[in-house]
Symmetry: C2
Subunit: 578 residues, 2 copies
């Protein structure tokens, strides 16, 4: 490919409001252009990289016996009514009507379409297990699409779905795909990725893992134990909470004039903040109810855990007015002395059990109780895991100190159980002729996000540094001569020869200054650069340079330079594996 004809210009300016480096570099280097918020055109350089990623993913899916399919994006509403997701998913799901005013959605994932297919095709245990996968557009109307290709509203996803008849088979296959995912990420050249336990979110099901690229600019917070295997997204993470044990004392109402915050009350009563119970009020917009969470004073409520518990799409902090209506008194709120709990849902976080003799509100201005002991004083409480892991916590499994990291999600896998097969009433006959409901898993990788994640990990101040396995071209050939001279002829000849040898070359044959050409080559990020100039043509050599290390050497035209170039490409390629 000649650079002069390549669609997509190099630009000096970053896009407005860009914060992620992958967004800035992919835009500046002419890989992507934005059509609307979260909607991008992939220009030729980006598509070449995308296609190499797709080919790697396809190979790994085929290795675990995946069957490639293509399922439609337009899904009739009834398909999503069947699983309840037409209602339970908010405005991320794009809904529209066709010419006959029939309701449709644009699939943001394809569990429904897969279950629909399973319903018509599955009848016998002999057909199971199997896995199907596709590369298909997904539409998600994100409220905050930002960060270039990392959070978009339309994207190509590799999604896969497996069916199983027993849990052993499901577990085995799930971890086989986990392994395939690791292969994929390593083969695309990523180094610093891990898998963590994660929220099942809108997918439902029992267990899920996210593959995360560790990256300071990531949106997700990860809780990682450096000593054992424990790794989880903060959205679902747990820790071992320190306990504060004392001999339970009788509960007593105390005067705490003007002491409204937890810190004030604890200080006034000379208690540790861990020995207080904090009331937090939310309003649950989905179920239209007020939520009262009691949690240990030093901890914060984890809103993902709370939303999952409530099966709510949207929660927000309640207003003082809303709180007053329930009979609770803001600043001194308590589950004790509530005039009525109509329309109020009370949830107790498990941290409340870890301290004895807690200070809690009295639902009366300027008064608190001391020596509240949940099991004794509120015995019917339902207790849940609703806390957010704080800094400096210890591992719930081994007790060692946990580490917090930021990450970008690059893939996720879900054990869905029978959620979808049950909704679609899929049954197959087992070996004894008895009907059984199969179980499903699903597995996703956003191709564009993976592409951007590689750039997040692999770049320098001058531009992108592609791993060889997914680089848009293998070699960037620069002719530094502006004239029709020996250097240009040598460049033209080498370009042809490299093409004939099956080497992928981007040839900068423009009559621009060397400075512009070097800057463009570094920005575009092709791993091997070959430079032909008026100067080195005189010595019968050309320069070959690695984008990453800047290692440079000269190769003589009289040597077996093709072999040498191929060796360099192979060596770079060999870095892209586990």
């Amino acid at each position: 490919m000649k650079l002069s004809k390549l669609l997509g210009n190099r630009l000096k300016e970053a896009p407005k409001d860009a914060s992620l480096i992958s967004h800035i570099l992919l835009y500046r280097a002419g890989y992507i252009r934005q059509n609307a918020a979260g909607i991008y055109s992939y220009l030729p350089l980006a598509y070449k990289t995308m296609k190499k990623i797709i080919d790697i993913v396809r190979e790994e899916m085929d290795k675990v016996d995946g069957q490639e399919v293509l399922l439609p994006s337009m899904n009739p509403r009834e398909m999503w009514d069947k699983t309840g997701r037409y209602q339970s998913i908010g405005s991320e799901l794009i809904r529209f009507q066709d010419r006959n005013e029939k309701d449709y959605v644009l699939a943001m994932t394809h569990e429904e379409a897969v279950a629909f297919l399973g319903k018509s095709e599955l009848f016998s245990y002999k057909q199971i297990p199997f896995m199907i996968y596709q590369f298909q557009l997904k539409f998600r109307d994100e409220p905050r699409s930002r960060g270039g290709l990392v959070r978009v509203r339309e994207f190509t996803m590799k999604d896969a779905y497996s069916f199983h008849l027993d849990d052993k088979d499901l577990q085995e296959y799930y971890y086989k795909v986990h392994e395939a995912y690791s292969n994929i990420f390593s083969r695309t050249g990523l180094k610093n990725y891990i898998s963590v336990q994660s929220d099942v979110g809108m997918m439902g099901g029992k267990l899920a893992h996210e593959f995360m690229l560790l990256c300071d600019d990531g949106e997700d917070t990860l809780i990682i134990c450096p000593e054992c295997e424990y790794k989880a997204n903060k959205e679902i993470a747990r820790c071992r909470l320190e306990e504060f044990r004392e001999k339970p004392l009788p509960m007593e109402k105390v005067h705490t004039p003007g002491q409204k915050t937890i810190e004030q009350v604890a200080g006034f009563l000379d208690k540790k903040i861990e020995q207080t119970g904090k009331a937090v009020f939310y309003y649950d917009d989905t179920n239209e109810q007020l939520i009262f969470v009691l949690i240990r004073g030093d901890l914060e409520v984890n809103e993902t855990k709370l939303k999952n518990r409530l099966k709510s799409k949207e929660i927000r902090f309640a207003t003082d007015e809303e709180i007053l209506k329930t009979g609770a008194y803001p600043g001194y709120a308590s589950i004790l002395n509530l005039k009525s709990s109509d329309g109020l849902k009370i949830l107790i976080d498990e941290s409340v059990l870890t301290s004895d003799n807690l200070v809690v509100g009295a639902n009366e201005k300027d008064y608190h109780y001391i020596n509240f002991n949940l099991k004794r004083d509120y015995p019917d409480a339902e207790i849940f895991d609703l806390y957010s892991v704080p800094e400096n916590s210890v591992c719930p499994e081994c007790g060692n100190k946990l580490k917090l990291s930021k990450g970008i999600e690059i893939g996720n896998i879900f054990q869905l159980g029978d959620k979808y097969t049950k909704s679609y009433e899929i049954q197959v006959l087992d070996q004894d002729g008895k009907p059984q409901t199969p179980m499903m898993c699903s597995y996703g990788i956003g191709i564009g996000r993976l592409l951007a994640s590689v750039v997040e990990e692999s770049h320098d101040e001058n531009g992108i540094i592609w791993p060889m396995s997914i680089a848009p071209f293998q070699v960037h050939l620069l002719c530094l001569s502006k004239k029709e001279d020996a250097a240009r002829k040598a460049s033209d000849d080498l370009y042809k020869e490299l093409l004939e040898q099956g080497i992928e070359v981007l040839y900068d044959e423009r009559k621009e200054s060397p400075g512009i050409k070097f800057a463009d080559a570094d920005l575009i990020g092709i791993p091997v650069q070959i430079i032909i100039s008026d100067r080195n043509i005189e010595t019968g050599e050309f320069e070959i340079r690695l984008r990453k290390s800047k290692d440079s050497r000269n190769l003589s035209y009289s040597s077996d330079y093709i072999k040498e170039i191929k060796n360099i490409i192979s060596k770079e390629l060999s870095l892209c594996r586990r």
Copy 2:
């Protein structure tokens, strides 16, 4: 791939309302399933075929220097307002709003997205010509989606767009892609396809060609001259109209009691039907006006030509009431003696010029005029090509008798001129530094429709007959033994060996009857069948049979049978070329 695990069952029944054989066979053989009207899932067999078609198309696009891209499906309304198509396209264009109530369309084609990109990237003549292409979903909310994959509402299309600065370059490249399209269709195994001149339709522009598979079940009617190069879709076709010349006589009003139809009047007045002028009234829903077409009595109005002339999305016959309002008298309607032509648009078809002394209506019950001569009696008429080519017409170019054929459109190419580049105000500097507006062409192939078209052409009473180039597998291996015996062991071994040799095999290892297995193999249509049975294992041979010709022979296990199988595959493959 083992057949027992392949997703998609073989079925005895055709889908309800299926008329096209490709629809019936692809459904029965387990290639496709319908999710909603015109919306299909591609099961593994179909996707394998689709992928081979995509690879062929990609190769041919790359050969004409195409650059692959991926442009978004979600297009903000403003992109389509710019070209006027948000308004001018009817409900085929799917419109919806995002979470912020911003208007979007689902792209049914990507001229807007390409022009949007051109606007930001093009600045110099040095960048032009170039072509970009993609494989991307298209959404078209067809009123009558029928025929399986032939007319659908969501489909994968290869669309391509080229930019040119002068007409010579445009013409050269356009016909280069025309050639690439022929290569594509031949390489997918199609034989009876032609290209015809076609309506530019919603694309606009100056000239267009459709590639048509000749096929009795096709929706399109083609007008073909067997003697010269003239070939056109009936929607735009012309013919040489026979002329009826006489000495013009004075116009005269005559009493024609009860003679309302053209045939009655002609008979009553002893005139040929070609010597009458017929009034046809339409209502143009887009422009909200009544249309009066005057056409020679023996001819029909071509509604595509009429709609293009009116720039109308929708026309229908006018009601008597609507006609009466204009002052015209139904049955005796005429452009003469119209009380008023307010709100009435009069269009004269060019056929009216071919006869002298026409009989036309008098706008008065039971009266006609004879000897109407357009140029003399209605000199200010605007004259257009609005007729439909009738049967038994002669070629407009060479005068030989035209043939009518039915066809399925398998690809189309358009010379768009500057319609889109002008709307987007794209200008580049030419060699003299002067701004120029580039021109565009666009080129489309629906992948699923091409797949179905191959089945339309290549099948028999038992099922599909795939050309080797796009068959889902090369070899269908049938083990006829139901037991764990020598035949099964030989089958398992051959399956492994074929896979190791890189041959694509579907292995029917089920314990079903030979009858079921043969029927399934013929239905699925893989070009080479290999049969291993208890009987032929005894003679140390297996049977190899061609799906198409049923030619069968035995190969000995002691021979170089792999070489022989590869030869057969190569020979079949060699049939898929021009």
